[in-house]
């Protein structure tokens, strides 16, 4: 079998997905045995023009992490799509939009004003906001334009596979690499490197009947480390979230926030979580239900923590002035 040709790229990302690949430790050498890495900005010295010079479909697989936040991200997504037979959305940002996708609750100008004009440590009397083009004495300077909204990779180009997680668990990265090397990938489009169950199905905590009269948070509770967090009234996104992370937050006695994305067949993770929460509320009196629900602060930012750009909501919409 000829060696596989693979590429890795980061768009609007924090670097955590790449760290997850580096955390393969010695196994990285095995990857190098089975595949030629043709593009990986964090580690290797190949450039955009090297990718442009490739024939279309030259790379067997390209792992793309990070969301699409600006025009350069989109340009690279389109270029890598053209040059790759298989494109994998790697990690929550690329797959769902991720935590930076929470910015979709706000308008672009609002974000810029807060950072540069609303900060107590930034006097900025001239109200300077960074610009795409600036003319300095010696010449013109450019930076990429900040898009109005965060987009997922699949909202920009067709994607074959989705590898969830913020970041993907190292063993799942390895499982996906093995599946690729041995040609055991499912029919696209599909989620790989994760379970087909919900996190609750794999969670080792003791579960009984869930009847909630009052929601709590880690701010006012020390949770019992053995018992289901949701049963203790702590919002845990396990019912709406795909398993595969190794329940790492649960092990730290903290609730899930959904980084592995929706369970199979579910389009909108937040809506699924909402129905899960509705089903555990122990009351049929509308007034009491309202009071109990009011005990969940920021349901949107909690249920859609990692998936707002991919959800049916997507974020605020502003009619463009013609």
């Amino acid at each position: 079998m000829p060696k596989l040709k693979i590429g890795l790229y980061w768009a609007a990302a924090c670097g955590g997905c790449d760290v997850s690949v580096l955390d393969l430790h010695e196994k990285i050498l095995k990857v190098a045995e089975a595949a030629d890495i043709l593009f990986w900005p964090i580690a290797l010295d190949f450039k955009e023009k090297d990718v442009e010079a490739m024939p279309d479909g030259h790379m067997d697989v390209c792992f793309f992490n990070g969301a699409v936040r600006n025009s350069e991200n989109e340009h690279m997504a389109k270029l890598l799509r053209k040059k790759s037979k298989v494109l994998v959305a790697f990690g929550s940002c690329s797959y769902l939009g991720g935590v930076p996708g929470l910015a979709n609750f706000y308008q672009r100008e609002d974000v810029l004003r807060t950072v540069y004009c609303g900060s107590p440590s930034t006097p900025n009397e001239k109200k300077t906001i960074p610009q795409e083009k600036t003319t300095e004495k010696v010449g013109e300077l450019k930076i990429p334009a900040f898009y109005a909204q965060v987009k997922t990779l699949a909202q920009v180009v067709p994607v074959e596979y989705f590898l969830p997680g913020c970041p993907p668990a190292v063993e799942q990265v390895w499982a996906a690499v093995e599946a690729i090397v041995t040609g055991k990938l499912p029919k696209p489009p599909a989620v790989v490197g994760a379970s087909d169950k919900a996190l609750c199905d794999e969670c080792p905590r003791k579960k009984g009947e869930k009847k909630i009269k009052q929601f709590r948070s880690v701010a006012d509770t020390i949770p019992d480390p053995e018992i289901c967090l949701l049963e203790q009234g702590i919002i845990c996104c396990g019912p709406a979230t795909r398993a595969g992370c190794g329940y790492r937050c649960i092990k730290a006695n903290m609730p899930c926030r959904g980084c592995y994305g929706p369970t199979p067949g579910v389009i909108d993770q937040g809506a699924k979580m909402l129905s899960a929460v509705a089903s555990v509320i122990d009351s049929s009196d509308p007034d009491e239900v309202e009071k109990i629900v009011a005990g969940i602060p920021d349901p949107a930012g909690t249920f859609y923590r990692f998936s707002l750009p991919d959800s049916l909501l997507r974020g605020v919409r502003v009619e463009e002035a013609k």
């Binding site: 760290v19 964090i42 580690a43 290797l44 440590s121 880690v218 701010a219 949770p223």
Partner: protein
Amino acid sequence: MKRITIDPITRLEGHGKIEIFLNDAGEVADVFFQVPELRGFEKFCQGRPVWELPSIVPKICGVCPVDHHLASGKAVDAVYGIDPPPVAKKLRTLYHCVHRIHSHIAHFYALAAPDFVMGPDANPAVRNVLGVVGKVGPELGGAVLKARRLAQDIQAMMAGSQTYPNWMVPGGVSKGLKEEERKQIEQHARYFVEFAKTSIKVFDDVVLKNKAYVDLILSDAYKLVTHYMGLVDEKNHLQTTYGKVRVVDTQGKEIVKYDAKDYLQHVAEHVEPWSYLKFPYLKAKGWKGFVDGQDSGVYRAAPLGRLNASDGMSTPLAQAEYERFFKTLGGKPVHSTLATHWARIVELVGAAEVALQLATDPEITNPKVRELPQQKPSEGVGIVEASRGTLTHHYKTDEKGMVVAVNLIVGTTNNHAPICMSIKRAAQGLIKRGQQITDGVLNMIEMAFRAYDPCFSCATHSLPGQMPLEVVVREKDGTIVARRQR
């Protein structure tokens, strides 16, 4: 006017870009270091419950998530006016030291070492961590990988995931240490101390015993006379997680020592339209532009800043190395940017020693790892030393704990103006009219900012340890007159 663009990842979504403008005589007229990235955490953290922020802000950076997690946890404590139990503070410090070990190892061996082991103008094909391993032997390579892996394992054990920490809660941490976990950490910490000693020796053999390198470190092209900042304890010893922020001037004299809550009295930020990243400065001195010296407001943070701003280390091996550092480099403060690499080794030793102290502390397995909030939440500031500089998180909430304002001054941001100035100075010293711009020259310009371990270049934590660079020399009309790539 000619223009040289150093775009680390060549027109891709960037983490830093250098623009060098040459005048008609072919000398450096001006240099701009641009950060083309913004995600706006300050905005979208608004409206979230404040206790959720410690698990949101690590997404600012996947390379230093722990620093953000801790600064956030401390800010949340302050929002609720809680003082966590002693063991919670010790656990946080232990966890922080282990992260520091992982981060400093990655930087020194993968990134800095190639320039010194292989040489600043060595063939780029071997000027990487693989080249280093080839030269110093696979044993050291194996030890580096092992030390980094053990550090990652401890972080996962303590906080759920090594890259996605979810452990800080108001008033403490969500989970303590069991005795069998403690034993494992102790064993690993002993390995870290031995590894740190090896690292001193590596630095000695490779850098200090080579006069050319010591001269390079002390040369004017890599010197910047600034003020310095870092956390210290009551004895003014360097700290990572708790303590006060101390600022010393260009002569090493204390300007101020402040509590986290007072940061706005001492630090402010300047905005330029050509970069998404702001430029912090000392408020008392004011923003005087990109200039160094006693009257400038520009200060430096990170390992060099911390060593200069402190009076010593709290542990014996690190203290000995601290003393040798200043003795060798001509006394305090050291203004040589490249000395940051050595400062990082001094900190690596200190972090390993503190980790071992804490792992063998009889109290460390005490299950009382948090206090529950009693007060209504309002406002708070949390400061820790991130690997790349003093990290400030400032939150305001309503009385239910919903966030209404967030202000962040991130580690690398402290050094933004110094990075710009260091690059300019190196470029001015290295680019001479009529001379060819070789790969070695490029790399030596790059070394000026690589010393800071800038976090927007997470690329600096790469395997072969080298940022891809492209330099394009253009005429005023944009036509390319020379191109060099590696």
